[in-house]
């Protein structure tokens, strides 16, 4: 295994603040279905008020993990803590969690107010108080004037806000969001993301957000846990995940990636030299301290970190323009490159400055690119 999961535990302390106790602690939890491992033993700590995203393709175990935290599934092994209390055996309805489901799961036979009141009534809150609190929460999501409508009479975005209000009104210890934006169209989605993030931040509610959309994850999260094949591959801030992916999967799943295959020529006295299909590249040894001479490695660079330069520039990789895609603000240039690990290399260039298809060019790589060695490839 590439990364020891225990090492992936986040630094608990926020710089300049005393270490907070985790709101959610996932302690070695694993789950399999009919003998197939859906979630490998996983350790995670989520700070109070943190917005943590579980990001990954379908079948990566993110929904399984969410359902384990919610209590819809029971772990095979490991324990779960919410606010330091062991909840592994606690049934769903006693866990004090709020869930926004993918299709919102609003009760169709109740009006909006009754939907929002539901969680308060089950807690024995008197009718008048439940009503007031529900209306207050509906005001928070700007839907108080729709209180007596049925869910079916609302738009998708409004339904989602009702679902959010219903989950928040009980002041949950943890808010779980299961792909809540997937049913919304693109423009509405962006607006709802901002709104949700604002509400989450103002209430300071600890949130676990499940999505397969890397854009959503990058724009909303305090931290992202990238998952694949039942395993957390990397956990970190959006910036860390984007700029320093731990392995090839994370690098290619989050954002656009260029991958070049190279062979280590030398790795000594602080310098690492690579041979990229004939181009020699000199890097600081810290880029891949464990790489040995003769080893095949992968060089990872974001499109915006690469530059188009004149052919023959030292240290730049030669390439040929295969095609250009006009995108309005810029042009996406796809380049055939002998060193490319898979597919073409992609660069974004200003519209004014597009080389012709077939032109020989060269790509200058970032000074400190990410190098994947061993299993990280």
């Amino acid at each position: 295994m590439l990364i020891d999961p225990k090492l992936q535990q986040p630094a608990e302390a926020v710089p300049g603040q005393p270490p907070a106790r985790p709101a959610v602690k996932i302690d070695g939890v694993s789950k399999s279905f009919d003998g197939t491992l859906a979630l490998e033993p996983t350790w995670l700590k989520i700070r109070k008020g943190e917005f943590l995203t579980l990001l990954g393709p379908s079948g990566c175990g993110k929904t399984t993990l969410l359902n384990l935290v919610a209590g819809f599934l029971e772990p095979d092994k490991g324990e779960l803590f919410i606010d330091d209390a062991l909840v592994t055996q606690v049934p769903v309805h006693k866990r004090e969690i709020g869930i926004v489901f993918q299709n919102y799961a609003l009760f169709p036979h109740m009006n909006v107010l009754k939907n929002v009141e539901y969680g308060l009534r089950t807690r024995g809150v008197p009718a008048a108080e439940a009503r007031d609190r529900a209306m207050e929460t509906l005001r928070l999501v700007k839907l108080d004037q729709f209180a007596d409508r049925r869910p079916k009479q609302l738009s998708g975005g409004q339904q989602q806000r009702v679902a959010l209000a219903r989950a928040l009104v009980i002041r949950p210890k943890v808010l779980l969001l299961d792909e809540p934006f997937s049913a919304l169209d693109r423009n509405l989605r962006a607006a709802m993301q901002i709104e949700l993030k604002e509400i989450q931040h103002s209430l300071g509610v600890t949130t676990i957000f499940v999505t397969h959309d890397q854009g959503e994850a990058l724009s909303m999260s305090d931290r992202i846990a990238v998952m694949s094949k039942g395993r957390v591959r990397q956990i970190g801030s959006p910036e860390e995940i984007y700029a320093s992916p731990a392995d090839r999967f994370v690098g290619t799943f989050v954002g656009d990636a260029n991958l070049l295959t190279g062979t280590v020529t030398t790795s000594e006295s602080g310098t690492l030299t690579l041979d990229l299909a004939g181009t020699a590249l000199t890097l600081p040894q810290s880029a891949a301290p464990e790489a040995a001479a003769g080893e095949t490695v992968e060089l990872f660079a974001r499109p915006e970190a690469c530059q188009l330069v004149a052919p023959g520039t030292p240290g730049a990789v030669p390439a040929t323009v295969s095609f250009a895609v006009y995108q309005g603000a810029h042009v996406e240039l796809h380049l055939a490159c002998p060193a490319a690990a898979e597919g073409p290399i992609m660069l974004r260039v200003p519209v004014a400055n597009v080389p012709k298809v077939g032109a020989a060019v060269a790509v200058a790589l970032p000074e400190a690119p990410v190098i994947f060695t061993g299993e990280a490839q």
Partner: protein, 283 residues
């Protein structure tokens, strides 16, 4: 519009049957408006007498008996069928589900007469049920099930159960499990989730199943005839008695027609109720 040359051929058999049914209804209508000539199988001239005869207390009583029978049967079928359908859908064991399904549906493939005969064996004074209760010392003398409304209802519930369970199972399967999960997550226990989410959302299925049970029971013949033994007089047993014991075809026809109109009226009321529920936007 594309030509669909085979469509006409496909609907022809159904069309022929529909014509046959319409013709038989017209025949019944025609009979119900003809006079009965005692001793003759052929009816006499045009008259409304058959329908005024139906206003006699004896016929009114048969109507009331039938409606009560339908009501009790529908009620008990629902009370037994709902938990059965629910358990069948929600059991995690495929084996248990299969067994429940087979036990529930097998009666559908036995004729009404065969099933009624088995109920006679079970319900008789020396039958299985009384013997068992006597043997256990729960009762001192046999309970009369035969020739009573209770006995007929018991057999009719069994007769109606499969269709009701199928309809309820379809309705319950239609309920989004996420709604129940949402209710759980909001702090509701199992009972509360059932009463506030599952049961209200099953209402369309319950209405459909009970109206079907009602119509199904209303038309039942062999069960009230054999277990009621002439003591429980329903519309269908009366039609048989009037038509094939007294050979008063015109009266039997008008009785059938009245029963048919009554069933249509009841089903329309159910349907109206259902539309009201649907208009609330719940389903």
């Amino acid at each position: 519009m594309t030509k669909r040359p085979f469509l006409g051929w496909f609907v022809t058999p159904a069309g022929l049957i529909a014509i046959g049914i319409a013709a038989s209804f017209l025949a019944i209508l025609q009979y119900s408006l003809r006079a009965h000539v005692p001793g003759m199988l052929d009816p006499g001239g045009f008259t409304f007498d058959n329908f005024t005869t139906l206003l006699k207390p004896a016929y009114g009583k048969a109507f009331i008996t039938t409606v009560l029978l339908c009501f009790w049967t529908a009620l008990f079928t629902l009370l037994i069928g709902y938990p059965l359908a629910f358990a069948m859908l929600r059991t995690r064991s495929g084996w248990v589900r299969g067994a429940m399904l087979i036990i529930t549906l097998t009666p559908l493939f036995l004729g009404e007469v065969v099933r009624t005969y088995s109920w006679i064996i079970v319900l008789g004074n020396q039958g299985f049920l009384n013997s068992a209760l006597l043997g256990l010392g729960l009762i001192d003398e046999p309970i009369s099930f035969m020739f009573t409304t209770m006995g007929v209802v018991i057999a009719l519930v069994h007769f109606t159960l499969p269709i009701v369970v199928i309809m309820l199972a379809a309705a319950i399967a239609h309920i989004d499990r996420k709604l129940e999960q949402a209710a759980f997550s909001l702090g509701a226990g199992r009972v509360r989730v059932f009463l506030t989410v599952t049961l209200p959302l099953s209402v369309p299925g319950i209405v459909a199943a009970s109206s079907t049970a009602f119509a199904w029971t209303f038309s039942a013949f062999a069960t009230p005839q054999m277990i009621g033994g002439g003591q429980v007089v329903t519309i269908s047993t009366l039609v048989y008695q009037v038509g094939f014991a007294s050979f008063n075809f015109p009266l039997a026809a008008s009785l059938s027609l009245a029963g048919l109109l009554f069933t249509i009226a009841v089903l329309s009321i159910f349907n109206l109720g259902m539309r009201r529920i649907e208009r609330q936007g719940a389903y």
